[in-house]
């Protein structure tokens, strides 16, 4: 049973699957009364636990990537806010949230710098063959075979030749896409983007569709939210439009790209390269990619740094405090 002191703390329902916990739970517990069905003694089903507390729960803390369905939401008539610990919120029934005016916040702001760092890292790695070069040296091939095959330039324009270099197309210019653009501008890359609507405050050219963006890009960086409309937003046509020298970087979700087509194009040499942190059926990665030197593979770890978790803790704590003191929330998910 909760102590009298705990009873006074604002109530937050925790929604997670057993193998997903969060390291800063004890620090949140000092400020909020956390109700976690998985911690209940004696063990109780999530459904009955939630039903018992339903009327008093105004805030749900959703630990990535636990699904939040319409059914679950129907158990919580007083719910006003869902605080998600992930950047993507494709596991939440957003249509129902919009209908009931439940606010949803994500981890976007806390994660953006790390995800953007990884996107740029993957891009340089693919273009300059960093991981492949490292393999070459470690295998002792440099001494045996001599100079390594050349990589490709990242920059837009050359001082001595007027050859145009890389134009980067960003699919989804949210918080992460904006951070990527900021970084790549310093490399001299020309930026374009695709999003549902043109953003009036953004100076980069906007393209109505991913296909139009791909035609005008050498590199496509995929970092939009996964929704029904964006599933396979990068399909075969988009990839073919990018062209033979084109490079695709995905730090969003695996299902944003038609993975089968991507693999096929890479294997056939119809695409210049790919840097992938996410896949359609994680942790399964298409084995055809394992022998390619123009791909870099990463185990969905764009946010796996301690600094990132600190920023997440700060953001979640700030949003919970803001809610209970009627202040504005941060990283609010926009509904269509």
């Amino acid at each position: 049973m909760a102590t009298a002191q705990e009873e006074e703390l604002p109530l937050v329902l925790v929604h997670r699957i057993p193998n997903f916990d969060f390291p800063f739970k004890h620090r949140l517990q000092a400020q909020f009364r956390l109700l976690d069905p998985l911690d209940s003694v004696p063990p109780e089903s999530t459904h009955s636990f939630i039903s018992r507390h339903a009327a008093s729960v105004r805030v749900l803390l959703c630990v990535d990537p636990t699904p939040i369905s319409r059914d679950l939401l129907s158990l919580l008539p007083s719910l006003q806010l869902i605080v998600c610990s992930s950047a993507g919120v494709d596991h939440v029934d957003l249509i129902e949230c919009r209908r009931r005016s439940i606010a949803v916040t994500n981890a976007g702001k806390a994660f953006s710098p790390d995800v953007a760092d990884l996107a740029v890292g993957l891009l340089i790695d693919v273009l300059r063959r960093v991981s492949a070069g490292d393999r070459y040296v470690r295998a002792g091939l440099w001494a045996r075979n001599g100079e390594y095959p050349l990589g490709f330039k990242i920059l837009l324009k050359h001082q001595f030749s007027n050859a145009f270099g890389k134009r980067v197309g960003i699919v989804g210019l949210g918080s992460i896409g904006g951070e990527i653009a900021k970084r790549l501008e310093s490399f001299g890359c020309a930026i374009g983007y695709n999003s549902r609507r043109k953003k009036p405050s953004v100076p980069f050219p906007w393209y109505k569709t991913a296909y139009d963006l791909a035609i005008n890009s050498d590199i496509l960086i995929v970092c939009c939210a996964l929704t029904e409309e964006t599933r396979h937003i990068v399909n075969k046509d988009v990839m073919v439009a990018l062209g033979k020298g084109g490079v695709i970087i995905n730090v969003g979700r695996g299902a944003l790209i038609d993975e089968k087509e991507l693999v096929q194009l890479l294997v056939q040499g119809e695409l210049g390269g790919a840097g992938l942190d996410v896949f359609e059926n994680e942790p399964d990665v298409p084995e055809e990619l394992f022998s390619l030197n123009n791909v870099v593979l990463s185990p969905h770890c764009a946010v796996a740094t301690p600094e990132c978790f600190d920023a997440l803790e700060e953001l979640i704590t700030a949003n919970l405090k803001a809610f209970f003191s009627s202040k504005p929330l941060q990283s609010v998910v926009e509904f269509d």
């Binding site: 890292g121 063959r129 490399f187 740094t305």
Partner: protein, 313 residues
């Protein structure tokens, strides 16, 4: 110009070879079995040497070629050319500045990200099928880390500009403080290292900068610090670096250059916190072509008595 003898010191670029063969009487030094006999035969016809970061024109070669007028290097660094000797004999020297600045800076940032975010290790992990067996471990954030730059020339500044876009505070060491630069200056490499999360070597290799990264500097950088070398191998006391990495006294390293290329210390091959590249700082197709065009442009300008494009001496 077909009769002018041009000596290419070592293989460097196929396009450059082809273009030189079209214009000059090109000799490929590495294909010559009897070097001294060859030099005796051709000493009166060879008027130019084309070198790079691996082979150039040392005093011995310069003495052996009395008609030598110009050394055009396919590199920005000139540590394989005896500059004093060239000056003394009135031999012109050119390099390929600027064209490779961006590539080297891009790679420096790539190495920082690769070491901190364990890109190569991640890629190995996925390719080996280990992901299916468990969760990947945490890595280190790059944005916001303190970047210390040794040598704030063209390349150093290009690195600074990029790192700034990642919100990294920039500090530097150079022979003298640059008053027009907003970054913080440290008068010694040890002090710079002590105040950096990432230390990057971007200065020219000279007698003063040989082993500028020594034990003291490595210790100041410390077990969480990362060393990036996109300069030259001899900037770093390599045995000291290897033992610091093996003993965990240094957090990690991203190395594009080594003391005895293409030999790389094998002790590094098993480490997860190092990224090892085969000297590819300027290794992009686009840049190598621009560098080659600059070498040819300098040679043509010289033999047509026009001003050199990128003279050093």
């Amino acid at each position: 110009m077909e009769s002018i003898g041009v000596l290419m010191a070592c293989p460097m670029n196929t396009y450059l070879e082809q273009e030189l063969e079209k214009r000059f009487n090109l000799h490929k030094f590495w294909t010559v079995p009897e070097k001294s006999a060859f030099l005796t035969t051709h000493k009166n016809s060879i008027r130019a040497v084309v070198g790079n970061a691996f082979a150039g024109a040392d005093a011995e070669l310069i003495e052996a070629l009395p008609k030598l007028e110009i050394v055009a290097s396919f590199s920005v660094g000139l540590d394989k050319i005896d500059l004093a000797k060239c000056k003394e004999k009135g031999i012109r020297v050119t390099n390929t500045p600027d064209v490779l600045t961006d590539d080297v800076a891009d790679l420096a940032i790539g190495l920082m990200l690769a070491v901190l975010r364990r890109l190569c290790e991640s890629d190995r992990y996925v390719r080996s099928g280990k992901w299916k067996k468990g969760d990947y471990k945490l890595t280190t954030k790059f944005s916001g880390k303190r970047v210390g730059i040794i040598g704030l020339g063209r390349i150093g500044l290009a690195i600074a500009k990029r790192a700034e876009a990642f919100s990294c505070p920039i500090n530097y060491f150079a022979r003298t403080e640059k008053p027009e630069i907003k970054y913080k200056y440290y008068p010694s490499v040890v002090e710079l290292a002590a105040n950096s999360d990432i230390l990057v070597v971007a200065c020219a290799l000279t007698e003063e900068t040989r082993h500028i990264i020594n034990r003291e500097v490595i210790d100041a950088l410390g077990p969480k610090g990362v060393l990036i070398n996109i300069g030259r191998g001899p900037h770093v006391d390599e045995p000291e670096l290897v033992s610091a990495l093996v003993e965990g006294r240094l957090g990690g390293a991203g190395l594009d250059v080594f003391e005895h290329e293409p030999e790389v210390p094998e002790e590094l091959f098993g480490l997860e916190n190092v990224v090892l590249l085969p000297h590819v700082g300027s290794g992009t197709i686009e840049t190598r072509q621009a560098m080659a065009d600059l070498v040819i442009g300098n040679l043509e300008a010289h033999f047509l008595n026009k001003p050199l494009l990128t003279p050093v001496v």
